[in-house]
Amino acid sequence: MGAYIARRLAWLPVILLLVSFITFVLGRYGPGDPVEALMGQYHDPAVVERIREQRGLNDNVFVQYGRYVANVVQGDFGESFKFRGRGVSELLTKKMWVSAQLNIAALIISLTLGVSIGLFAALKQGTIWDTGAVALTLVGQSVPIFLTAPGLLLIFALKLDVGPFPLPTHGWGGFFDTRIILPAVAMGVPGIAIVARLTRSSTLDVLSQDYVRTARAKGLSEGTVRRRHILRNAMIPVVTTLGFSLATIAFTSFIVERFFGIPGVGDLLIESFFARDYPVINAVTLIGTTMFVLAMLLVDLIYPVMDPRIRLGGGSVAG
């Protein structure tokens, strides 16, 4: 177990170095010279050359890359091209926190609603409730975020804004503000569908297991059986498949932010892209990849906690 984690963690810097090197080289040698961008249209070649020398832009690419990595490790991603004199870290910190909160809210909604719907459908298998839930999850899984977001806006801003549920549709007020509800729901819809489907099928698997019958036969209350024997076992496949699906959903936050006017990473990224602001693009890529890889690792590490039968690292499986 320890060795497995160590091996996975050892891979992490390798992957990150690879990604950072690719982004750095493409950004550095791609279009748009940083110094000329800084100097504007009229510049003296001698001055440009002096600045290049000063900033070390004439050095060997590996030397430059090493310097970049050393800075990044200390949290310094350089200076934005577009917003002169502002550090990328300073620009990003606030916006990333906003996007992260939105993602966490969407995750909570996906998990709670998804698991409840899935369990409910499985326990009512064969009834009209089950059929309805399955149909809903099928639709929810393939409905694009481009429809969910304006759809929610239409309903809540134009139809219900004076009705019994006046939910705000625009702006940002932090995690505990009602303005987070609609965007988080919009982001959560595919997650709810995926989680519900997984939960339903794995619960149905578990329901037919001998140990559930045994648990009931030995006189445990239905609540205990459901909590301890059904839910816990049914959650294992959900967790394993979940990580990747939810990580993909995280990218929809860029779209949701635009629709709901939330000051997150999305808008900054779009602006940076149009302005060829490579320091920002590189930083977002690096941080995003790190979080993605870490999330995958975290999911891997959760299995054994949930299911003591799983031994990581290829050890023998005991009973």
Binding site: G27, P31, F146, T289
Partner: protein, 384 residues
């Protein structure tokens, strides 16, 4: 009902039928699948033959009819009092003399009160048309530059067609099948290299790789296309070829692995068959074994995977164009149309600007998904 029993009988008796005939028959028996296929054929056909389908060009502007709603929406009329001057944006119940005169010339005002001599005077109350009514010459209305929205959607579908076809043909089919065949058939080092590289590309989030790839390579590729223009002899830059190339190359590079893995697995199975051994024994050259004896046995799963991948590629194009990484204006794309109008204020004032592209995209993705399911049921040997 008659057809179905007939088909079932034929399926039961015709055991000598080929795999393709059976699969095709099974597919045609599915109403949902056939309906989806027809919708997609119509949409793709409209996209491919866009200049023949629509009388307008995608960039034909006409500011006189800007933001015209679809034909079934009535004109919005508000009563306004004529004043000498005033802030029109602050108070929607007043209108200046000049503005009233201008609207009168266009036939957008009617007198409610005053104006006996037909002239506009201070204090008259006018019924002013603040948003025009639609007309059937623009069934989906027009955008803020007076461009026909249906035309732009059709040209946006053309973008979808080009991106999905190029990406799937180069990425999944060419790269994926070739590498999968080679890796599965030869095994050993080649296999290890292909599979490790593929696993590496899938262990990163695709989004960031595409982002970096596109941001770094767009300008060089554009330059290259511009250079090609001299060779070809006509303006191909305006057609947006560079955008198509960049985006589909980026999507293809990160989408071949699923296909390669599938083909490799199938080849590993097929390689054990005696007919492959027999072909080797009589000295059939390796490429011929791969193409004639191995590949046909793998075609079923390949078709299933390609049809399942359509929605993903189409969705990616829209997603990246929305973020400004994919197709660049003025080339039309559903993603760009949605991006330009993705705000609550557009939904309030001109919902048709947003809802038609969104609706088209939704229909497209849903039909792709349903088609994928139907194809899977019909062509996947395991689903029988």
């Amino acid at each position: 009902m008659q057809d179905r029993t007939q088909a079932a009988q034929q399926e039961a008796t015709g055991s000598n039928r080929s795999y393709w005939a059976i699969s095709l028959r099974r597919f045609l028996g599915k109403k949902v699948g056939v309906a989806c296929l027809s919708i997609i054929v119509v949409m793709y056909g409209a996209g491919i033959f866009a200049p023949l389908v629509t009388p307008y060009g995608f960039n034909d502007q006409n500011l006189d009819i800007a933001k015209q709603p679809p034909p079934w929406v009535e004109a919005t009329v508000i009563e306004k009092t004529v004043v000498a001057s005033g802030s029109l944006t602050a108070d929607r119940t007043k209108i200046t003399v000049d503005e009233a005169q201008l609207r009168m010339d266009k036939g957008q005002v009617e007198f409610v009160q005053g104006g006996q001599d037909g002239d506009i005077d201070l204090g008259d109350v006018l019924a002013v048309e603040v948003s025009p009514s639609g007309s059937w010459s623009h069934p989906f209305g027009t955008d803020r530059l007076g461009r026909d929205i249906l035309t732009r959607i059709i040209y946006g579908l053309r973008t979808t067609v080009i991106i999905t076809v190029i990406t799937l043909v180069t990425g999944s089919l060419a790269l994926g099948i070739t590498l999968g065949l080679i890796a599965g058939y030869f095994g050993r080092l080649i296999d290890a290299v292909v599979m490790r590289v593929g696993e590496l590309t899938t262990s990163f989030p695709e989004f960031f790789l595409v982002l970096i790839f596109v941001s770094a390579l767009r300008d060089p590729i554009k330059e290259w296309v511009r250079g090609m223009e001299g060779v070809v002899g006509f303006g191909i830059v305006e057609l947006g070829i560079a955008d198509y190339l960049v985006l589909s190359a980026a999507l293809a590079i990160f989408s071949w692995f699923g296909m390669a893995r599938l083909v490799r697995g199938q080849v590993l199975q097929a390689r054990e068959n005696q007919y492959v051994e027999a072909a080797q024994a009589i000295g059939v050259p390796t490429p011929r074994i791969l193409l004639r004896h191995v590949l046909p046995n793998v075609m079923g799963p390949i078709i299933v995977l390609v049809s399942a991948g359509l929605a993903g590629v189409a969705g990616s194009e829209v997603f990246f164009s929305f973020l400004g990484i994919g197709i660049q204006p003025p080339t039309p794309s559903l993603g760009l149309m949605i991006f330009e109008n993705a705000s609550i204020s557009v939904l309030r004032s001109n919902p048709h600007l947003l809802l038609f592209p969104v609706g088209t995209l939704t229909v497209l993705l849903f039909t792709f998904n349903l088609l994928g399911d139907a194809v899977n049921d019909a062509f996947n040997p395991r689903a029988r």
